[in-house]
Each structure stands twice: as structure tokens, then as C-alpha cells.
């Protein structure tokens, strides 16, 4: 599955909580109030509520309820940033894997507005989550680590990977036969070979036979 990157999120229950995916067992792992958000170099946005689910991060503005969501599968890294030179406020810094990496095109200078179109959102590569109370950063970081673990990448079968041999029996008795498709036949005499047979010894050093 390709990384989706950041998407707009507006699917709320009547009580204001985000509507979770009914299939796939998405559940809320943590909710943090009073969290601001900054996307790429755009200005810091008004506080909202961060919902960490077993699948993704969902941020919803307190004021006008616009929101963003990003799958853990799209989060390349996250870190605690406390260096004021890196960002004026302590925050969780995240990088988002996008489909069109580094394709800034001609719009590189566009300021992101409060209500970006989806094309702009999918290009967002950095997101900062800025809690008004910096003391929650450590716990938030831990929650993100834990939830990232719930979302391993789908296993891709790499071509040729199935040809590896995984146990001693295969390696010693069948490896050569297997790879030639002769599964049930012992390679002639293979198992009777003894690696300490003289025939495997190094050749005698001939120099020694010559007088110095």
C-alpha cells in the first residue's frame, strides 16, 4: 500500500469525536487537548485536539472543526524537538512520507492557508504538534512509538526471497537438489561426502620441495 500522506479529516461523530474506521478495529489510544499544529513552514494553527488511534493521528481544530489525519504507515519519523533554534516552541516533530517526494513544482512558494486543498496536503512532508503544556511531550512521544509498532509495513514478497533455505536439513541435504527442482533426490553422493576427506585439502606447497 502506498503511503497516503496527510489528508483532510472532517468525519466527526455527533459528539465531536472523530469517526473511526468501523472495519479493521481502529481504536483510540490517546487524546490530547490543546495541541497546535504546523504543517511544513506554514504558520502555527490554533489549538485543537489530537486523537491518537491504533491506525493514525487525527487532529481536529477546536474553533472550526477542520482537521487532518495521517496514517502511521505514512509517518517516517517522529521526534521530540525542544531546541528553540529548531522551532520556537517545544513540539513533536514528524516527517511524512509522500508519494511525490520532493516534487515541489512551481508552487514551492505558496503559503498554505487554513483550508488547503487535498493536493497541497498530500505534499506536506513535515508536521509539528505543539501541546500548550510541554510536559506531555514525553508521554506523547511514547504513545506514538507504541502505536507505530501496531502498524508494521505490509510484507512484500521480494522476488527470489522464497529461494532461501531456512534450516540445516535443507542446507545440508537438499539445497542443491531443491534449487534444481530435484526435490526428492539426493544429489549423488552429497550426503556421503566428508569435508575432511583428503581430496579437499589444499595442494602441497611446491616451493618446499625445491632446495633453497
Amino acid at each position: 500500500m502506498a503511503a497516503r500522506g496527510l489528508v483532510a479529516f472532517a468525519d466527526r461523530e455527533s459528539d465531536g469525536r472523530p469517526r473511526l474506521e468501523s472495519s479493521g478495529g481502529e481504536s483510540i489510544c490517546a487524546v490530547q487537548c490543546n495541541v497546535g499544529i504546523a504543517l511544513d513552514d506554514a504558520p502555527f494553527q490554533q489549538p485543537g485536539t489530537l486523537h491518537v488511534t491504533s491506525k493514525r493521528l487525527i487532529w481536529i481544530s477546536d474553533a472550526d472543526h477542520h482537521g487532518y489525519a495521517v496514517d502511521f504507515l505514512s509517518l517516517s519519523m517522529h521526534a521530540i524537538s525542544r531546541d528553540p533554534e529548531a522551532y520556537p516552541l517545544p513540539c513533536i516533530y514528524t516527517q511524512i512520507e509522500t508519494d511525490e517526494e520532493f516534487d515541489y513544482g512551481d508552487e514551492a512558494g505558496d503559503e498554505l492557508s487554513d483550508h488547503q486543498d487535498s493536493a497541497n496536503l498530500s505534499r506536506v512532508q513535515e508536521m509539528r504538534l505543539v501541546p500548550s503544556d510541554p510536559s506531555v511531550l514525553d508521554n506523547l512521544f511514547k504513545v506514538l512509538c507504541d502505536c507505530a509498532l501496531l502498524n508494521p509495513d505490509p510484507v512484500e514478497e521480494i522476488e527470489g526471497e522464497g529461494d532461501w533455505f531456512f534450516n540445516e536439513e535443507e542446507v545440508l541435504a537438499g539445497a542443491i537438489g531443491h534449487s534444481n527442482g530435484a526435490k526428492d533426490h539426493d544429489v549423488t553422493g552429497f550426503s556421503e561426502l566428508h569435508l575432511d576427506d583428503e581430496q579437499f585439502d589444499d595442494a602441497e606447497e611446491s616451493e618446499e620441495e625445491h632446495p633453497a
Partner: protein, 93 residues
């Protein structure tokens, strides 16, 4: 599991993790898990000129799937141990 076991031995050592987006982050290896997700401490970006926005962060979690290379400390590479580990792996143990 070979890489997992091997990287576990490197916990506490200084490594450089190069991401598929060319960002290289140097730091102390805090932990690694079965997916080769990597946690670094006391990190810094190797090429600060190229990535001025990515200044020092204290802790960092890097998703295993975005790692391209991990540069190891020379004293973290014990060829004998690696030989043994690969043999054990080949035997399925």
C-alpha cells in the same frame, strides 16, 4: 531476525541512520525492534547546511521501512560474531 539481533548488540553505540529521503541522522542507538524501527537519542542531522530546519532533536523514532543505510561504528563490527550469527541464521536457530 539476523539484523534485529545484530542491531540489538549495538544499543548504546553511536550510529548514523540514512533515510531514503537522503536525510542522515547521527545519534546514540537507544533501541531497535523486530521491524527495524530505530530509536535514537542525542541526535543531530549530519548535513545541517542542507537541512537547516531539522536541527537537533533529543529523541527520535525512525520507521524501519524508511531506513536506507545504518552506518556502524568500526568497533561495532566483529566479523567473527557476524560469521557465527549468519551460520546460526542459516540453520534456522
Amino acid at each position: 531476525m539476523l539484523f534485529f539481533s545484530y542491531f540489538k548488540e549495538l544499543v548504546g553505540k553511536e550510529v548514523t541512520v540514512e533515510l531514503k529521503n537522503d536525510l542522515a541522522i547521527r545519534g546514540t542507538l537507544h533501541s531497535v525492534d523486530q521491524y527495524l524501527n530505530i530509536k535514537l537519542e542525542n541526535t543531530r542531522v549530519v548535513d545541517q547546511v542542507k537541512y537547516p530546519h531539522m536541527l537537533s532533536v533529543k529523541n527520535c523514532f525512525i520507521r524501519g521501512s524508511v531506513v536506507r543505510y545504518v552506518q556502524l561504528p568500526p568497533d561495532g563490527v566483529d566479523v567473527e560474531v557476524l560469521h557465527d550469527a549468519t551460520r546460526r541464521e542459516a540453520r534456522g536457530g
